[in-house]
Symmetry: C2
Subunit: 185 residues, 2 copies
């Protein structure tokens, strides 16, 4: 077992990366990321998911047009599209668990990531058609992957203006985040 502080530090250090080096994902790293994804836990182990790995540039560019904040997909080295079975009530929660495993495993490989939600419904339908996703599955979450363009790529001020204008950096204080034994307002 490695030093636990290293792993917790790695978890804490995950940030959205929207600027990518022009370099493909190492195939062995991609397989490790997909394996970490596949082993994600889910409610009753229902595994209400599969993923589509997209590396074709034209497809990435088309997907980038399927969401108001999805432009970073156009320059990503790859995207992992989550294909979810909405029949299960915890599917959105499980998708969040799956996403976090994918992004952390990528980060451990030195690969940056950024979620793109493909909404509203019209965009979602276009993305499904583009990737051949059947009617009984949903595909509203794509995770862009790529090696960070440079050491500033995790900074929010390197994001498009429609992102920086809507997002406040940092995190709430521990005193706001943690209650002890009872909710304390």
């Amino acid at each position: 077992m490695p030093d636990q502080k290293d792993l917790v530090d790695l978890i804490k250090s995950l940030r959205a990366v929207r600027r990518y080096a022009d370099r493909p994902i190492d195939p062995a790293a991609m397989e490790r990321i997909l394996d970490a994804a596949r082993w994600t836990g889910s409610a009753k182990n229902r595994q209400p998911w599969s993923v589509i790995v997209i590396e074709d540039r034209a497809a990435l560019e088309s997907l980038a047009d399927c969401g108001p904040y999805a432009g970073h997909l156009a320059d990503a080295a790859a995207a992992i599209m989550l294909v979810m079975d909405p029949a299960f009530p915890a599917a959105a929660y499980d998708a969040g668990r799956l996403s976090q495993n994918i992004m952390l495993a990528a980060w451990a490989e030195g690969i940056g990531s950024c979620i793109a939600f493909l909404f509203p419904e019209e965009n979602h339908q276009r993305a499904r058609a583009l990737l051949g996703v059947p009617d009984d599955r949903e595909a509203w979450t794509a995770i862009a992957l790529g090696y960070p363009e440079d050491e500033r790529a995790t900074r929010l001020d390197r994001s498009p203006s429609n992102v920086t204008s809507e997002v406040t950096p940092g995190r709430i204080d521990p005193g706001q985040f943690v209650h002890r034994e009872r909710y304390s307002g």
Copy 2:
């Protein structure tokens, strides 16, 4: 940066643990877990959450009665209750990301975990009343934490019969999980 394979292996090795040693959580480890939780990313960095750390035995036993599969909370060393703001459309997805960070950070500290969903609504309301959660927040997810009772504690056959009868162990094959470029049935 630690060896990347260590984190990927840690991610892959996370399993639900429902049997706990009679030993409190190391306070420094708990603080690291809470810090990893606090740094979880969320849609537009809205951070639609806070958490309640519960270590009081009577409260844990009461919570264990607030869900059909929540019995393991009674013996846990602690629980982290997620308190979510349902006003944000991605709140369930973000709760999944938060949960995964908590469980992975705990696992890195040698601490097992298992989610308990507090449903149906009647149970959810009882849990909210117990913890003083206000009407505009939801609290349907508790994460039990504890050092594993023994080296077999991650095995599904060490779970209660109502869990083992409903859960299939293992994961789907890579060929079912991963599609390349397009969904392939």
